[in-house]
């Protein structure tokens, strides 16, 4: 162990950038080689975005960039410049949860809940393109998101329930 006097910290120069996250602009300073996942979680304390591999293999870190699902572990924070980032923290509005969130809760589509933010954002992107997705579409679109708890079945059911409610305009009834 070292003496009680602490040595100099390593000098790591940071970049300063405006990140547009969940509809708000944030002035963030971060080490330039950090991934967007790290910037969100470590520099902005938005820990709702999870990680399962940090190698682009599991989909857990899925966020929306200009509405398109992206793996935040494979993007640099710098790359988000000028883009609109959406994380799980931005999904529920002031007037309550998104219909997908309600349906996931009601049908038990979140067991441990660790994969859930990634699935919810991926599902939101699916519904934006196809408001009444077939099972085959869901299988295809969610093929990059792993879940070890549910076997995916309740996730499909929850997305279908939310889709039906959104079609009818009854968010959670």
């Amino acid at each position: 162990m070292k003496p009680a006097t602490e040595p100099d910290s390593p000098a790591r120069s940071k970049v300063q950038m405006i990140l547009r996250v969940n509809g708000e602009s944030h002035d963030v300073a971060f080490v330039p080689h950090k991934t967007l996942l790290e910037v969100l979680r470590e520099d902005m304390r938005l820990t709702g975005t999870k990680h399962g591999c940090e190698l682009g293999e599991c989909g857990t870190c899925t966020i929306l960039v200009d509405g398109v699902p992206r793996l935040s572990c494979l993007m640099l924070g710098l790359e988000s410049d000028g883009h609109d980032i959406r994380t799980i923290e931005g999904m529920a509005g002031a007037c309550g949860a998104h219909p997908l969130q309600t349906a996931f809760a009601e049908l038990g589509a979140a067991q441990c809940g660790y994969c859930t933010p990634g699935f919810l954002l991926a599902a939101e992107a699916v519904l934006a393109r196809d408001p009444t997705p077939s099972r085959a579409t869901l299988v295809e679109e969610l093929g990059g998101n792993l879940c070890r708890c549910t076997g995916y079945l309740k996730i499909y059911e929850a997305i279908e329930l939310a889709a039906a409610r959104m079609q009818k305009g009854t968010p959670d009834a």
Partner: protein, 824 residues
């Protein structure tokens, strides 16, 4: 409900009458108490935590499979700016391990490394990157030893043993026991089958990688928040290694982002961050990488098995001799219990009048194996259920009929002295046979298509704790607020299975309050009564009983006062919809908060505790500690496959599964567990395997999520789930387990379906396309292990069965063993 030790007061009788009139909560599907936090990203998993002045820890792990540590030079790491502390094993010489009989791990290796990934040096630095740079500057000098990578070699004891304890050399555990006369049983059989099968190891792969954050409190206490399924055992291990009284160590288990058994051991990294926090007086966090999680492992043991069974013409068994050889990896972990489990539950599904089990677990220079969902029982279940399929074919019977004819009776005692309670396997089989159209499909589908059937059973909690003690396995405290709130405290840990919700629902049922009025404090060794942990499918049964008892005691106090105030006999009081009222005159009552106030005015603060200890098992022989449970769940499944005749690829088209859960507490969560178990079993059946490059020094072939194949949405077929409710007298409200049992039939059902589809036997898990093709090309239409080694059993403990007039003891004990095993 169990509480027979206490006389039934009128207040308690009132509760029983109320439950008999129908449940308010039990069996329904309210949303999980933590669901909204999970879907909004607010649940704080261990790696989501951070503190001011927090340091980051990285561990340097061995890159060699087996070596003596000659020297460690940390000077270059210490010189790196931002490095605050460097820690080696010398600072923590006290060994630990989950089982009292296998205290064989050190937080950092002392003198030897035993597998690639064994932890050697830890660094705490101001950021993760600095810590990572630092460990790369550490120089460890190793003297390589000859490693051993498979148990058939290890059992020959030609290498320097990994440990200086165990049964001999690299044999960690050797066990042999016989119940009844197996040779006589074989002589009396019309058909004797012998099969050698192999079940490859696989891992839990929880989506969350392990993480821990430890710090020293201002008053000197130590606190750790960690992704652990067993805070109580971690508490014990930390206290032991760090030499701190348990009263000054606090373990808080974070919600686990999946566990499946992979977070059930006390881990070296947990002790390391605690030690670093004490050394630096700063919070220290570690977050393992996915690669490190693969090396932490503690997953499914690879098991080579030999099973010999005698059958009569009608398909009933005369006796069975089961042998298993477990590849344990570098450390003990739960391995002694795992060894016994490979021989324990063969007897609880079908009647096995005479039974012999021989098991050996060897140490090898690979990541340690331990408990994964099903702990030690999926491997023998695979062998048994595939062999039954072969027996049915040989005897000209339908595999479903064969099983239905040989079911173990409910309430009976097995040859190896396990007490069976409720037993719903018959209805499970009938359900999946009917729903799948089995009778029209088995043996009748076109080439390439097939169906397979398999069954299973699992314990609802281990009858004995991991370390011997006479205390309860679960405790719950219920405290009533004047405002009508109910505070519930329990050491249980939610790993995604929904145990928090079960806890709240049981209390809500008894007190008749809304789930929203209940607030939970869980999994914190400073504030909650002990619950042993989320393993062995024990939580619903054990915590459920403890919660019921605590809530019932609180209800009794309230009912006594309210009965007086309302001037009605207490037996007539009902607690429902946040009111307490007279069942004969429902208008005569008061809101629950008012009832609490009336009671508190009379009796003082209302805080009651409940606890649970499982009933004693009839088995008293050495080794009888593994297998007993308050209740056994049962499952049956039919799997339909489409096998590509050219590529050997097995596509699962549909699964029908029925599970005897006794009684659902929350039906939605029960179905979720069934589906999740089916999914995980399917992964094991078709693709998941831990494989190592033995020619490259025991390096894991595939320590990444891309290369370790697990089912994606594309591989997951539709599943039709049926719940069979045969309430068990030992379960709270009759409930039994569901977390592990439904996984077990998948592997044999897939293998049996492949046989039905293409007429070949793959006696090995996973059933991969190359094996199917090889079996199709083989003369004997089989792929699987060809031989089984001599386990070198010198003495077999002989126990008389109940039918033979035995009393559960072994009359002629073999040579004295070092220590008795009592664990799950």
């Amino acid at each position: 409900m169990r509480n027979s030790d206490e006389p039934l007061s009128p207040e308690r009788q009132g509760l029983r009458d109320q439950l008999a009139e129908g449940y308010q909560m039990i069996g329904k599907s309210p949303i999980k108490v933590d669901a909204m936090a999970k879907v909004t990203g607010q649940t704080m998993f261990a790696d989501d935590l951070s503190m001011p002045r927090m340091l980051h820890c990285k561990i340097l792990r061995s890159h060699v499979a087996y070596a003596r540590i000659l020297s460690i030079d940390t000077s270059a790491a210490e010189a790196l700016p931002g490095v605050i502390a460097v820690l080696t094993g010398a600072a923590m010489p006290i060994p630990f391990g989950i089982l009292p009989v296998s205290q064989d791990e050190h937080a950092l290796c002392l003198d030897r490394v035993r597998f690639v990934g064994d932890p050697v040096v830890a660094v705490a630095a101001v950021d993760e990157e600095t810590a990572f740079e630092a460990i790369q500057r550490i120089h460890v000098e190793y003297e390589k030893l000859e490693p051993v990578f498979d148990p058939t070699t290890a059992i020959e004891n030609k290498q320097e043993p990994l440990h200086d304890y165990g049964d001999d050399g690299n044999v960690h555990k050797r066990v042999s026991m016989e119940f009844g006369e197996v040779e006589e049983a074989f002589a009396a059989a019309d058909l004797v089958l012998e099969d050698t099968m192999f079940f490859e190891g696989n891992t839990h792969l929880p989506m969350e990688q392990h993480a821990s954050l430890a710090w020293r409190e201002a008053d000197g206490r130590l606190t750790i928040q960690s992704s652990t399924q067993t805070p109580h055992y971690l508490h014990k291990a930390m206290s032991k290694v760090l030499e701190m009284p348990p009263s000054r160590v606090r373990v808080i288990a974070c919600p686990n982002g999946g566990g499946f058994g992979g977070k059930s051991d006390p881990f070296n990294h947990e002790i390391v961050v605690a030690k670093l926090a004490l050394m630096t007086n700063r919070p220290v966090k570690i977050a393992l990488t996915r690669e490190e999680v693969f090396y932490c492992h503690r997953g499914r043991h690879p098991v080579l098995m030999h099973v010999k069974t005698g059958f009569r013409k009608d398909g009933s068994m005369t006796g069975m001799h089961f042998q298993s050889l477990l590849d344990g990896g570098g450390y003990g972990s739960y391995g002694v219990a795992s060894t016994y489990y490979t021989g324990a539950l063969q007897t609880v599904t079908y009647k096995v009048p005479a039974y012999r089990f021989d098991g050996v677990r060897c140490f090898t220079n690979k990541p340690p194996c331990g408990p994964k969902r099903g702990h030690g029982t999926p491997q023998p279940r695979f062998a048994l259920e595939v062999q039954l399929d072969k027996a049915a074919v040989a005897l000209g019977l339908d595999p479903a009929d064969l099983r239905l004819r040989t079911l173990h009776p409910a309430g009976g005692i097995t040859a190896n002295w396990l007490q069976v309670g409720s037993m719903g396997l018959g209805p499970c089989i009938e359900k999946v046979v009917e729903a799948s159209g089995w009778k029209d499909k088995w043996g009748k589908l076109p080439a390439g298509k097939g169906v397979g059937l398999a069954c299973s059973s699992y314990i609802s909690g281990a009858g004995l704790p991991i370390y011997w003690n006479a205390m309860p396995h679960s405790g719950v405290t219920v405290q009533l607020d004047r405002g009508g709130g109910v505070a519930v405290f329990c050491g249980e840990t939610d790993i995604g299975q929904g145990s928090d919700t079960v806890l709240a629902m049981v209390v809500a049922e008894v007190l008749g309050v809304d789930l929203a009025d209940i607030r939970l404090t869980v999994a914190d060794t400073h504030t909650t009564p002990v619950d042993l942990g989320s393993y062995s499918s024990r939580v619903t049964v054990m915590m459920g009983h403890a919660a019921f008892q605590a809530a019932e005691r609180a209800r009794e106090v309230v009912a006594r006062s309210v009965a007086k105030r309302l001037e009605v006999p207490a037996v007539r009081l009902r607690f429902a919809e946040n009111r307490v009222f007279d069942v004969q005159d429902p208008e005569n009552g008061m809101p629950f908060p008012k009832a609490v106030q009336v009671a508190e005015a009379e009796h003082g603060t209302i805080a009651m505790a409940g606890s649970y200890t499982p009933p004693a098992s009839p088995g008293k022989y050495r080794g009888a500690g593994v297998g007993p449970s308050p209740a056994y769940s049962y499952s049956a499944a039919v799997v339909q496959v489409d096998v590509d005749l050219e590529t050997g690829v097995v596509a699962v088209e549909k699964i029908w599964v029925a599970h005897d859960v006794g009684q659902s507490i929350n039906e939605m969560l029960v179905i979720g567990q069934v589906e999740g178990g089916v999914y995980m079993g399917l992964g094991e059946a078709l693709m998941e395997e831990m494989s190592y490059r033995s020619n490259r020094f025991g390096v894991h072939k595939i320590p990444s999520m891309l290369e370790y194949k697990s089912p994606t949405t594309h591989e997951m077929p539709p599943v039709e789930t049926f719940l069979i409710e045969s309430p068990d007298p030992n379960g709270p409200f009759g409930a039994k387990e569901v977390g592990q049992g439904p996984l077990l039939p998948m592997m044999p059902a897939v293998a049996n379906a492949v046989f039905d589809a293409v007429g070949v036997r793959v006696d090995e898990v996973p059933v991969t396309p190359d094996k199917v093709l090889k079996a199709m090309q083989a003369k004997d239409k089989r792929y699987g292990p060809k031989s089984f080694p001599d386990l070198r059993i010198t003495e077999t403990m002989r126990v008389k069965t109940l039918e033979q007039g035995g009393d559960g003891t072994a009359p002629r004990p073999p040579r004295a063993e070092k220590q008795e095993v009592k664990s799950s």
